[in-house]
Amino acid sequence: MSETLLLETASTAPRRRVTAVAEHIVEVLSDSGEGAQRCGQAFAAIAARSGHGIWTLEIIPAEIQPPARSVAGASGNRIRLGGGRITNGGDEADLVVAFNEQVLIGRVAEGELKPGCLVLLESMWREDRDPAVAQAYAAAHADLVARGYRVIEIPMDRECRKLVPDPRRGKNMFVLGMLCSVYHLDLGLGREQIALTFGKKDAKVIATNVRLLEAGWAWAEEHLDFAFTIPTAQITEPQVVMNGNAALALGILASGMEICAMYPITPATSVSQHLTELFETVGGLVHQAEDEIAACAFAIGASYAGKCAVTITSGPGYSLKQEGIGLAVMAEIPLVVVDVQRGGPSTGQPTKPEQGDLLSALFGTHGDAPKIVLAVSGIEDCFYAMITARRIAETFNTVVIVLSDGSLATAQQPFPRPAFSEDWLAPPVDQSPVPEGARPYDWDEATGIFRRFIPGQPGGMHTVTGIAHDRDSHVAYDAASNEDGLRHRSLKLAALQRTLTCPEVFGDPDGDLLVVGWGSTKGAIEEAVAGLRAEGHRVASLHLRFIQPLPSGIGEILRRFARVITVEANWSDSPDDALIDEDNRRYAALAMLLRSRYLVDVGCWTESRGRPFKPGTIRAALLDELAKEKRG
């Protein structure tokens, strides 16, 4: 059903039907450079300030300047807004605003639109001078209508032209005004948001954008026959709204780390970019090295000489850093490595999220190289994980790998504003004389921990080396020294492990099915589990933050459930494939780890679709698993 004619002929405002909904998912899509991202972000911020829970996702084309009006060029935002805390991007969209019909096609094909979804579509293309464009538009429009979407054609370009000469710049604020009207958001907050967004520009720019906002709002009030109200909750404590990469950057600042060495790589780069700005005012160095190997080596050199440094990368860069990671493990130099995972192997899918690096994080680099692996489970965790990582790296003189991924990198969510604590920062570098007779690797017999001598400390002179060495840091190829080093480097993991607390089960302590997850998928998994539990299913979930070492108590939890599966965004063989059987099936990374550690028959369900997990998809997978369990 198309409603263009109805609306265009209507001379008076249509009667507006206001529907109360628990939550909605909105997408704003445009060609790259038309500002859908900015519109989506502003809309999300206004919604958050209005007391809605939000989660936003960026829809990013892989290229910088994809061709206009192309399926692959879709750029924009998804905003999920609801009454309470939102922990993921949700399932299908309820309402989509599209600046042209082409950017919609890919979203439709990927199943991102809910049946009957509202589509607010720029109508200028219908009368385009290029007959091919007009034809493509008409065809796509007809297809959308045939699929049952409620398509509302809106002359955005024409309306904006009344205010600005080039609606390509400004249409996004018109759309923002429309969305404020549709979701009953305060226009005053919209004006403030524009002032914040364009704060660095002059008042004229802000005024123009405010007029566009108001025009969009007025147009929607006059012409749209629907609106929605979503519950709000009054904010009582200050909240910060940021994406995962910004939270990592702020976390690094808060951790007291002063040196970051990096090489540009998607999707990790924005962490270092943000950090560069922060260090400009606070002091500190972000070094863009000549390559990933050099970035890692630089960070190790900086750490060695004083305070722990960080290097930030994504999959391919993480592979290149292996040699350096091994060196830091062997010489026992603190180092924090952040891997914002993307689709792999090789160059893979640079702009798409995946959890494919777990095994290389755990076991990467040659030889026995024990290191700590921490996976952030949400945006707030991105902030605090960096503080934890720095402290562990320095306490244990070892490497801490922090795994994030593309789906947290650009997703935004409010969380309570962190309250700064001096304890987050590292103490000043020790420059006191080393006691006579003290040895550089004076490993504690039980824990493997030792006090590192830092350049500048009189009496502590020694040469660290990546070669097998004895307690004096002298090259030592003898069997006893070799095993002495291996043993103590390994013991440090056990020493840390003894301090970790077991994660809590989400749901009942026992039941038919336990879902184990790690990293960015926490919100989607718990939403799916909560839904199933509400329907009476005996399902629970467990989310792991420390993956190496694993805290005590996990094995007992696994054994309390009739069936255990992991849910992961990486590859595992499907038992349905003709060649696959129990002798050759490749399990998902975490499943493999849990099976070997706990001797529990842990299954797995995985998806590698290059997009954040949807609670609905997980729900369907869990229902399948429950049905199997019943049959079994």
Binding site: A246, V282, R417, G459
Partner: protein, 325 residues
């Protein structure tokens, strides 16, 4: 980064002798290896410059050359193959108060670490870099290196190497920001000492190629030059190394060369016979990375707190600013 240490007065002026820079380890280099001469020169330099052993760091990669830090009684970092330069850059940028030296070989610097070499010249961090160039991979027992002369018979080139060697001096001088380029040979210790001493005093990355004998795998390689001192070209300048009368008697081929003359330096570097020794090029005006990046600023808890709070403000929704439903 550690300005406090710089502010402390040295309560007692320490004076050191050579033994203070010798570690308890006996060098494991072969008899006649040129690395021994380099080690001796370094220990002498440390003594003469009165470097505090605890404030001195020797960084190296992998190879025979890279064992040098173990034999110095200073702090040392024996790293991974090819990565001495980025490790040393990290040390210096983290701790500008430390004196940082790099020992690297022709395989380490010019092959596996070649990218780091060029970029180190770009950064121009204040490091003294010693390229121990023996024209062969020694620790892995004789494979051709990037500086092996054409036709070198080695385990990987049994019929003789087929690739022409690269010239580390011309390449280094080709990088616009190279600020100190010199060449020394292990068999003229006086000049070796003078060159590394000037290199140490240069603020910026000083690149010193040291032709170093490997009697085990390249016996007699430099004999033509050693046995015929006329084939050595000593570069002399009031602002460079000085050739005293005793040296001039042995090495008659002395040429006045102004190290600020880049074009002349390039022309000298092109020629390997006669073999130039001395400072080819020096430009103290090239900006150093640590200056450009303002490292070493005082970073107080208060400054971090203020920076963090200001940044959090940008992302904050305050209850009082939120809309009332």
């Amino acid at each position: 980064m550690i300005p406090v240490a710089d502010c402390l007065l040295r309560t007692a002026e320490a004076h050191h002798d050579l033994a203070d820079y010798r570690s308890e380890l006996v060098p494991r280099w072969c008899n006649g290896c040129g690395d021994n001469a380099i080690l001796t020169a370094m220990q002498r330099l440390c003594r003469d410059e009165d470097l505090a052993p605890e404030k001195t760091v020797f960084v190296s990669g992998i190879g025979c050359s890279s064992r040098l830090p173990h034999y110095m009684n200073t702090y040392g970092f024996h790293g991974t193959h090819g990565r001495a330069l980025p490790i040393a850059e990290g040390v210096k940028l983290s701790r500008p108060d430390l004196s940082v030296f790099v020992s690297t070989g022709d395989g380490d610097c010019l092959s596996i670490g070649a990218a780091h070499w060029l970029h180190a010249l770009r950064y121009n961090v204040d490091l003294t870099v010693l390229l121990h160039d023996n024209h062969i991979y020694g620790l892995t027992k004789k494979q051709a290196s990037p500086t092996s002369p054409l036709g070198t018979k080695s385990n990987t080139t049994p019929m003789g190497s087929v690739l022409a060697p690269l010239n580390p001096l011309t390449i280094t001088l080709g990088v616009q920001t190279a600020s100190f380029v010199a060449q020394a040979v292990d068999w003229i210790p006086d000049l070796l000492y003078q060159v590394i001493s000037a290199a140490y005093r240069h603020k910026g990355l000083s690149f010193v190629r040291i032709l170093q004998r490997c009697p085990e795998f390249m016996p007699g390689l430099f004999d033509p030059w050693i046995q015929d001192p006329k084939r050595m070209l000593l570069l002399s300048h009031a602002d460079g190394v000085t050739v005293g009368p005793a040296l001039a008697k042995v090495y008659p081929n002395v040429r006045a060369h102004d190290p600020s003359d880049r074009a002349a330096a390039r022309a000298i570097a092109e020629v390997e016979d006669p073999l130039p020794v001395g400072i080819l090029y020096r430009d103290p005006a090239v900006p150093r990375y640590e200056e450009l990046r303002h490292v070493g600023e005082l970073r107080t808890v208060e400054r971090v707190r203020r920076g963090l709070e200001a940044e959090l403000d940008r992302f904050t929704i305050w209850p009082e600013d939120a809309a009332t439903p």
